[in-house]
């Protein structure tokens, strides 16, 4: 274990786990007339691993650049620990960035790249070698200290970029799709390392990605951004289990969106009906493919109280996925339901399926349209 902090300073994560460190308040940003962020408010806790997830063009990188100080906001405020961050110029902010393309200085050695921030802040001459060595050890790059960056692979440059940022002990580390240029295996490995590194140093990470799996795997919380608005901010399990909107349900994991009509406590979508908790009129439900199973009794009647819904459909596509298969079921009326089944064998023709009514989660249409 390497402790990058001074021995006297307690790790932020343990001392102030739920205290808000960064506060983003009603931030609006336009490029010319085009609105990129349309009123973002977000609290980031100290020591948190927060992921900003969104499609390209959703404004996630812009939000990160506003926090880093590379862009100026049009309205709103950003605060960090009682200090108005958006009025401070980038080089005075206690925030460091790991860039998407690494942005390693090509004319400096790995050592000098990592030492850059320390020299800029006039660290004492004696502590620079020690801290650089520590940072390089942390990312397992000690042996490359004297190497020229051009001789490093993408993954190695990535590590140098991390060390270069972390050596400054920022209060917030911003990561702009840092893993998107790496191949799949290296990417998984770096994900795991990033996560353990974050726990180790206890620094708040704000991580931008368009990859929902990456977001789920790494984050304490996910902020889902859509067209400049926050769709949902919640821990991965919550956002998966209880998506707030149809968009969130579709973007994070796979789902079936059922547009249902509710009458007398029963929701009906096409040929499928189930017991609805409350309300009347139109509603959208999200039903995860893995919540649906083959009905054991074949055509036998479902539970009379509607707590288990049954439907019949023709298997029109089945893709093998190792532990589970994804089966597409044609239920007539050109509606297709996706079902994830553990080791079903090869399915053909018509089958009966069922799901628990509680697993169908009502969702809103969403704001970011």
């Amino acid at each position: 274990m390497i402790a990058p902090r001074d021995a006297g300073t307690p790790a932020v994560a343990s001392s102030a786990a739920n205290e808000s460190l960064l506060s983003i308040r009603q931030v609006i940003k336009r490029y010319g007339k085009r609105p990129v962020l349309r009123g973002i408010s977000l609290e980031v806790a100290s020591g948190e691993f927060l992921t900003i997830l969104g499609e390209s063009g959703s404004g996630k990188t812009t939000l990160l650049r506003l926090i880093a100080g590379f862009e100026e906001l049009d309205s709103g405020e950003i605060w960090m620990g009682g200090e108005r961050l958006d009025r401070i110029s980038a080089h005075h902010r206690q925030v460091n960035t790991v860039f998407q393309s690494y942005a390693i200085f090509p004319h400096l050695s790995v050592f000098e790249n990592v030492a850059y921030g320390l020299r800029a802040k006039n660290a004492t001459r004696s502590e620079i070698p020690e801290r650089v060595a520590q940072a390089l050890t942390m990312v397992k790059m000690s042996e490359f200290a004297q190497a020229a960056p051009s001789r490093l692979s993408g993954g190695q440059q990535q590590r140098v970029a991390l060390a270069r940022a972390l050596v400054n002990r920022p209060r917030v580390l911003l990561l702009d799709e840092p893993l998107s240029a790496l191949d799949a295996n290296l990417r998984r490995q770096m994900q795991a390392e990033l996560k353990s590194l974050q726990r180790e140093v206890g620094i708040t990470f704000i991580f931008v990605t368009h990859d929902q799996e990456e977001a789920m795997a790494l984050s304490d919380r996910v902020a889902l951004l859509r067209a400049g608005l926050l769709e949902q901010v919640a821990p991965p399990r919550a956002i998966y289990g209880e998506p707030a909107t149809a968009y969130a349900a579709q973007f994070i994991g796979q789902t079936n969106l059922l547009r249902a009509e509710i009458r007398d406590g029963i929701a009906t979508a096409g040929a499928i009906s189930w017991r609805a908790a409350a309300g009347a009129g139109k509603a959208i439900y999200s039903l995860r493919p893995e919540c649906i199973r083959l009905a054991p009794g074949g055509a036998a009647a479902a539970a009379p109280d509607g707590s288990v819904a049954r439907f019949r459909g023709r298997v029109c596509n089945q893709s093998f996925g190792g532990a589970t298969d994804l089966v597409e079921v044609d239920c007539g009326n050109s509606s297709t339901i996706r079902v994830r089944l553990p080791n079903p064998g090869v399915l053909t023709g018509e089958h009966h399926f069922e799901f628990n009514a509680d697993d169908a989660t009502p969702v809103r249409e969403g704001d970011g349209t």
Binding site: A68, F70, S89, H91, T97, P106, H107, Y116, A120, R164
Partner: protein, 282 residues
Amino acid sequence: MYSRAYKAGVTIPPLLWVTLFLLIPYAILFCYSFWSVSSLQVIVHTWTFQNYVQLMRNPIYLQVLFRSMRIAGAVTLCALLLGYPLAYYLSFHAAKRKDLLYQLVIIPLWASYLVRGYAWKTILGSDGVLNGLLQYLHITHRPVEFLLYSPFAVIITLTHIYTPFALLPIYASLEHIPRNLVEASHDLGASPWSTFRRVILPLSLPGLLAGATFAFVLTLGDFLAPLLVGGPSGIMISNIVVSLFGAAYNWPLGAAISFCMMLLVVTLLFATERLEKRLTVS
């Protein structure tokens, strides 16, 4: 794979061009530098080192050569001091005005050299624009003489003419600096000045060197500006070559000087290219 005919087609014309218009004339020049002129102004085709010896013995040639190098150095310095800030502004801060300003830098290159030379003559002359202004403002009471027909005038004129040549490679190298390196530097706590000193300047050194080489070499070989605004004290080495090939009718000595200058320039180009390669980081 390209066919033989295609390869020959693209290789032979430039080779022919270089041979006909560069190598052969240089070879002839080289030969001339070992011949001599008789008292009857006839070129004697016997081999001799006499021209080179004369070059070294007669102090006037080396004096003028050193003066030329001093002028070239001064012009290079001025061109860089003017060109670098402008190139920096164009590349990093001009934003919407970039294209317009870039054109404004280029357009003077289209004006005839002679026109620009004469323009400086009318500006710097004793009844010129500058002296008129100085007297109008009562800064001086009679025309300042040293403005025209002096090395000073040559330096000003050549700086004006060759600054764009120094600016363009600097601008190109600044444009090549990835902007996220600048952001990374700010992000790591470096002030704008420190970012310039530690990131932008080192990464633009190859362009700076190329620009300096352009300004120096072009100035060193210039003979029109000294002719127009230089006067006796502003004579440069090329003027001597011109007069040796013209009025003095001493082609062999002119050829010897030309050859020495060429050697000097080639050495310089070779050295800067080596240095540029070392400074360029992939």
